[in-house]
Symmetry: C2
Subunit: 165 residues, 2 copies
Amino acid sequence: MATENAALVGFAQHDHAACIKRALAGAEARCATEGFRLTPARRKVLELLVQSHRALGAYAILDRLRDTGFGSQPPVAYRALNFLVKHGFAHKIERLNAFVACAHPGISHAPAFMICRICNAVAEAQSAPAEGGLGATARAAGFRIEKTVVEAEGLCPACLEQARG
Amino acid sequence: MATENAALVGFAQHDHAACIKRALAGAEARCATEGFRLTPARRKVLELLVQSHRALGAYAILDRLRDTGFGSQPPVAYRALNFLVKHGFAHKIERLNAFVACAHPGISHAPAFMICRICNAVAEAQSAPAEGGLGATARAAGFRIEKTVVEAEGLCPACLEQARG
DNA sequence: ACCTCACTTGTCATGTGATTTCATATCAGA
DNA sequence: TCTGATATGAAATCACATGACAAGTGAGGT
């Protein structure tokens, strides 16, 4: 049953098994068409991220890689993560020094994140700070924005409920 | 002459000596009225941050502290930095794992930062992501935002000019 | 003046995150 | 098949951050 594999994404339940499959298939397809090499290590790291559906530190990923027979030195994880981030399959959460699978792969991207400070669940949303007040400030200052990090910290619905308990 | 001490703040020149004095006096005043203890170590760290007027890593601060006769273990720096951040005298730049003095102390705060990827200069602006699209998304998702991190990376005016050269 | 409680400091030890370096292996295209 | 670009493995090292504990300092009550 789908509910057995249900997990948290964007703070809502969903069919997780299908979602993992879809994400990996999508990544494979895009790598094929764009000429990227989704090697076993990279694929495995993406799978780990999608599977856990939360922010994972590089060393947590490394542990899981080791258990699966891959190399166990930090660069193994970091190289795969860098590849995934570079091509938009994953994002780094600066606040947590951790990584999440991208929730909207393929779509143009100025991601914003909501991070629960209790359970560390992460939901991805869209943002466009460079088009708002910050963009105007930057233009006025002569600063050219190339990339933005937007991360909101707070309480996810579940932990909020818990806290009210 | 003021220009001798001129330095970068918000990508613009200014009278740095006066600015340092003002920042420290302001912090002292606020600590006095609110009952915080601006101890020598804390004051020194704030001074270092204001003086350098850029993002400093905790260990860079620690080095300077050591040279000035303070303790030389990491917690010395981190404790002072935590105090300063907690009370709004400084901010952490998540992207750089570094700290800057607050440019608008006392004023209510949802800071946004512009970070030059070449020279690491940092300018502080105001933001209100929780009141824009992200706020709406969060409300819809049932997420309660408590704090936001907004950091734009790009090129400051000087480095942009350099790059065009 | 003295006590006491809360807070601050100093230091050691350790945990966590990330990169440099160099040798080796694999793949795609000439 | 050669070659250049890219990917991997492994060792070492660097950078960032916290836990734990003992000792010192300050403000308020008695």
